[in-house]
């Protein structure tokens, strides 16, 4: 398990209260849209959060997307470095 896998797990954990075991699938799908190997840890965490925000926006609209994005940034603040 590398540091990006750990980021994926943190994202899944953040999404879990809303999406249950769909969280894993949402992370899987978002990962496929990203060139994971070309990115540093910080970039990966931010880009994944943005990708998931875009997905939730398509699924449920802006409000839930913004709320979830804030939660993701909060749980990944160490990885993103903020």
């Amino acid at each position: 398990m590398d540091s990006k896998d750990l980021i994926d797990l943190k994202i899944e954990k953040t999404l879990y209260p809303i999406f249950g075991n769909l969280s894993e699938i949402i992370v899987e799908v978002s990962k496929k849209k990203i060139n994971r190997n070309d990115l540093g840890e910080k970039e990966y965490a931010r880009i994944m959060s943005e990708e998931i925000k875009k997905f939730i926006e398509r699924f449920a609209g802006e409000e839930l997307a913004d709320k979830t994005y804030k939660e993701l940034l909060n749980s990944l603040k160490f990885e993103i470095g903020e």
Binding site: R58, A60, L64
Partner: protein, 236 residues
């Protein structure tokens, strides 16, 4: 008991001022009977009237874009609702596609999956309406081993949200069974039946209140007119 208007002109006065707030209402009818539009119409007009509130529309088949366009053609534009109103559409068709692409359909407890985001959404705010479109789509994706029991808990979960739930149920033409398992009507607090009848070369739409728990009401079928001015009945 507090009541909510259906905003169908002529109907509310026949059912003691509307439908019971916070209850589960089964909106039943065949394809083309405007079940989705009718449900959308009630919640949309509630927001427009109260100038505040929150609605979650759970669309299990129709995409958000298609639903928005359909409602626009009936004069309902969610972007034009007052500032403190939120009409949220959860596009489960999108979620179903990604689950299918990932080959993970079997792993999902769809009833929980559908309720959880609504619960989360309702955590810090009052939710006025939840529209579940449709029970039939839910049956198609989830394996209900004990429908009566599982539907009981689904409806209970909806009641616990405190919102008025409009659960859409598609039936066959001329059927007086209001749900696939014939228990939906018993478990719901109220049944509104939208029906259609061919009269020569035209198709007539009708509406009837089959049941409102604890309320005396007319059970007549009223001709239903729908245009950009809204829904209205022709009373006899």
């Amino acid at each position: 008991m507090e009541f909510i208007n259906t905003y169908v002109k002529g109907l509310d006065e026949r059912i003691e001022g509307g439908i019971p707030k916070g209850s589960v209402i089964l909106i039943s009818g065949p394809t083309g009977s405007m079940k989705s539009s009718f449900s959308f119409y009630i919640a949309y007009n509630y927001l427009k009237d109260k100038k505040e509130g929150n609605v979650v529309y759970i669309s299990l088949e129709q995409s958000r874009e298609s639903l928005i366009n359909q409602m626009l053609s009936l004069g309902m534009d969610i972007d034009k609702l007052p500032k403190n109103c939120e009409f949220n559409i959860f596009d489960w068709g999108l979620m179903r596609r990604i689950v299918k692409d990932a080959g993970r359909q079997e792993d999902i407890n769809w009833i929980n999956a559908i309720i959880n985001p609504v619960k989360e959404f309702a955590k810090n705010k009052k939710l006025d309406f939840v529209i579940l479109d449709s029970l039939n789509a839910l049956y198609a994706i989830s394996n209900l081993k004990n429908p009566r029991n599982q539907l009981f808990f689904l409806f209970e979960a909806m009641r616990e949200l405190g919102a008025t739930t409009l659960a859409i149920s598609e039936t066959s033409y001329n059927s007086m069974q209001f749900g696939t398992y014939d228990v939906e009507g018993f478990l719901a607090d109220c049944i509104i039946h939208l029906s259609m009848e061919r009269i020569g070369r035209t198709l007539g739409r009708y509406i009837s209140i089959i049941k409102i728990r604890g309320v005396k009401h007319s059970s007549d079928y009223y001709p239903l007119i729908v245009d950009t001015k809204g829904f209205r009945i022709i009373s006899h």
